[in-house]
């Protein structure tokens, strides 16, 4: 620490940035490998198959084999492509996907950049994905790619509005755009106070909108396999094609982490210290028959409760658990539902989800107003209903 503090501030910023950046990159790639394998395994389980089986234990090293294969594959460079667009597009998608991870809080103060405008940053960064899609589609000089890119652009732009609108409810409840503040607000409210419950409408809208935002089934129109071969990445091969896949899965994981942060309380959850203290309490029979073992466990729990590192580990554990719940949900939906058509997608976005999310903002505002108004008053009639209002406080 002293060594670190002795460095000049500029060096601290640069070194810290590089360190954080590489950690985020590694974390993203790790998530990619797991997501890719999960996608295959879950699809296989749903379809009564076993999935990849040969490489490693039950096939779990398959993504590495895949990456090696894609690495050594030929880079096909078609003749009439727009060279720079064609070359850069995959990497832009990859970078934007990784950027989202920058603002995900893994624990209390355990975050790469704690932006005050976190939610706006999310909206801005996911907007870049359009550019990657469109560059790839336009640069490939292929009709299918172009169609896919047009679809992707229309879809991403229209769903971005819906997605941000669905998040406004959460922002109103937490009173902050900063993600760590949102998590702390949820932590204060306890398990039932996670924004999943008072913001149920916003949650569902966000779920649908971000599936569309991620280009995942049933909204995978930009790369609709059965219609447009592979959409915007039809002409790509080898590692450049893999970049699109990397971007897709890292994006999926990042989106799931954001959803977990905003609606499921992020990293909040019992830490090891709390668990131990609780266990000790139980062993002591809640004070009824205090014994040395229970006391020891409770004391140990109390002693490690303040440990930053242990709390961080617990935070990462809970965040990853919640994240993978969402990833599983996305995969489960993908392997169940048929794809919607482009006009239906637009109808859904503009005519259903946007009004619903606006209604959610209105509802949240009203309920909060009522809740705040009645907060100080002693309420006797319909106390359950009124206590319910506390949710929106």
């Amino acid at each position: 620490m002293e060594w670190w503090n002795s460095l000049p501030p500029t060096a601290q910023v640069w070194l810290g940035g590089i360190l954080k950046g590489s950690l985020i990159l590694v974390w993203g790639l790790l998530n990619f490998a797991i997501c890719l394998m999960l996608e295959r395994k879950i699809s296989a389980w749903i379809q009564n198959r076993v999935g990849p089986w040969r490489v490693g234990l039950w096939g779990w090293i398959q993504p590495i084999a895949d990456l090696i294969k894609l690495w050594v594959k030929e880079y096909i460079h078609p003749n009439n492509v727009d060279k720079w667009l064609y070359l850069i597009a995959p990497f832009i998608g990859f970078v934007t996907a990784n950027l989202v991870w920058l603002i995900v809080p893994f624990g209390d103060k355990f975050i790469a950049t704690d932006l005050e405008i976190g939610i706006i940053f999310i909206a801005a960064v996911t907007g870049y994905d359009v550019i990657a899609t469109f560059m790839a589609g336009w640069g490939s000089n292929n009709k299918y790619s172009l169609l896919g890119a047009m679809r992707g652009a229309a879809q991403l732009i229209s769903y971005e509005i819906t997605m941000v609108m669905s998040l406004i409810g959460v922002v109103m409840m937490a009173g902050s755009l900063r993600l760590s503040d949102i998590v702390l607000a949820q932590q204060e409210r306890g398990f039932l106070g996670w924004f999943l419950f008072p913001q149920a409408i916003g949650f569902i809208v966000y779920l649908i909108a971000s599936l569309a935002e991620l280009n995942r089934a049933p909204f995978d129109l930009a790369e609709a396999e059965q219609e447009l071969v592979a959409g915007h990445h039809t002409e790509y091969s080898g590692m450049r094609w893999a970049m699109f896949m990397l971007a897709e899965y890292i994006h999926l994981a990042a989106w799931s982490a954001i959803a977990a942060t905003l609606f499921l309380g992020g990293w909040s959850g019992p830490t090891l210290g709390q668990v131990a203290a609780g266990l000790g309490n139980v062993l002591n029979g809640f004070g009824a028959f205090v014994n040395p073992v229970g006391t020891a466990v409770a004391d140990w729990g109390m002693s490690i409760m303040g440990s930053t590192v242990l709390n961080w580990i617990a935070g990462v554990f809970w965040l990853v658990l919640k994240t993978y719940f969402f990833i599983f949900l996305a995969m489960w939906i993908r392997w169940t539902l048929p794809r919607v058509r482009i006009d239906q997608l637009m109808d859904l976005g503009w005519k259903f989800l946007l009004p619903v999310s606006l209604f959610n903002i209105f509802l949240t505002g009203t309920l909060r107003y009522v809740a705040v108004t009645f907060d100080g008053l002693p309420i006797s009639i319909g106390s359950f209903t009124m206590r319910l209002l506390g949710w929106w406080l």
Partner: protein, 258 residues
């Protein structure tokens, strides 16, 4: 679209999606995988499976059964069977010089087996016929004989009588005959031809059957053919089906649960 309609439609859509998700979840959690791990485990092959047509050897004499009568070649819809023969000047019998099936064009239709009047051809169990070089897909006489050893038997099948009773492609169960059981009377497999007047000595696993056949033939030469032919279909179908079924069931149990 009124508000009721709006909400009702959303409800119906959500409900149908939930139903779908429930079904896939049930499939995922509660139903076993149906995958057969192919190169390690094979699926069951039923007794009447139509694989490559192969030639049988009469294990009593060690001679192949084909008499070059050309019935199969004529019956073949795609003309993949090539037979070349010459007449032996001494015995006045046809001697097969070349019998080749071009498996690249064969469509496994079974017509050749049905046409064969001497129970010489049979549709084998072998279905992994891929070769690196397509020219190797032309299966020559010795290849077909080698593949057909499994289906050969040391007993007289009674070809004419059998034709009307059961289909000829139901064979007599698999034998463990090896290449040495072909006596190579014509010098076909590259070994020197056997001396004239050679009496083949049967391997132990075939001797029992031969003895039974001989007793049957010596006691009642004339009527023996018919009862034998009638009794055979049952006797033959069972051993053929039983090993296949056993093999299949074990495979299934192993394959069912990953």
């Amino acid at each position: 679209m009124g508000v009721t309609n709006f909400v009702g439609e959303a409800w119906r859509t959500g409900k149908s999606i939930a139903t779908g998700l429930k079904i896939t979840f049930r499939e995922m959690m509660f139903r076993p995988a149906i995958t057969v791990f192919y190169p390690d485990q094979r699926d069951e092959v039923p007794p009447w499976f139509r694989g490559i047509p192969v030639l049988k050897t009469d294990l009593r004499t060690g001679e192949y059964k084909c008499t070059s009568c050309m019935q199969c070649a004529q019956a073949c819809p795609v003309n993949v069977i090539t037979i070349e023969w010459h007449q032996d000047p001494e015995t006045r019998k046809k001697v097969c010089d070349r019998f080749a099936i071009d498996m690249s064009r064969c469509m496994l239709c079974n017509f050749c087996v049905e046409a064969c009047p001497f129970d010489s051809l049979v549709m084998g169990y072998d279905y992994e016929l891929c070769k690196v070089d397509p020219e190797n897909l032309v299966f020559e006489f010795e290849d077909l004989l080698r593949l057909g050893l499994k289906y050969s038997s040391a007993e007289e099948p009674g070809p004419k009588a059998k034709r009307s009773e059961t289909p000829p492609w139901v064979f007599h169960g698999l034998t463990n005959a090896t290449e040495d059981d072909i006596q190579d009377v014509r010098g076909y497999l590259g070994r020197p031809p056997l001396p004239k007047g050679y009496e083949p000595e049967l391997k132990p696993q075939f001797q029992q059957k031969q003895a039974e056949d001989e007793t049957a033939a010596t006691v009642e030469p004339e009527p023996a053919a018919k009862p034998a032919a009638e009794a055979k279909p049952e006797a033959e179908a069972k051993p053929a089906a039983a090993p296949a079924a056993q093999a299949g069931s074990t495979d299934r149990e192993e394959a069912g649960q990953p």
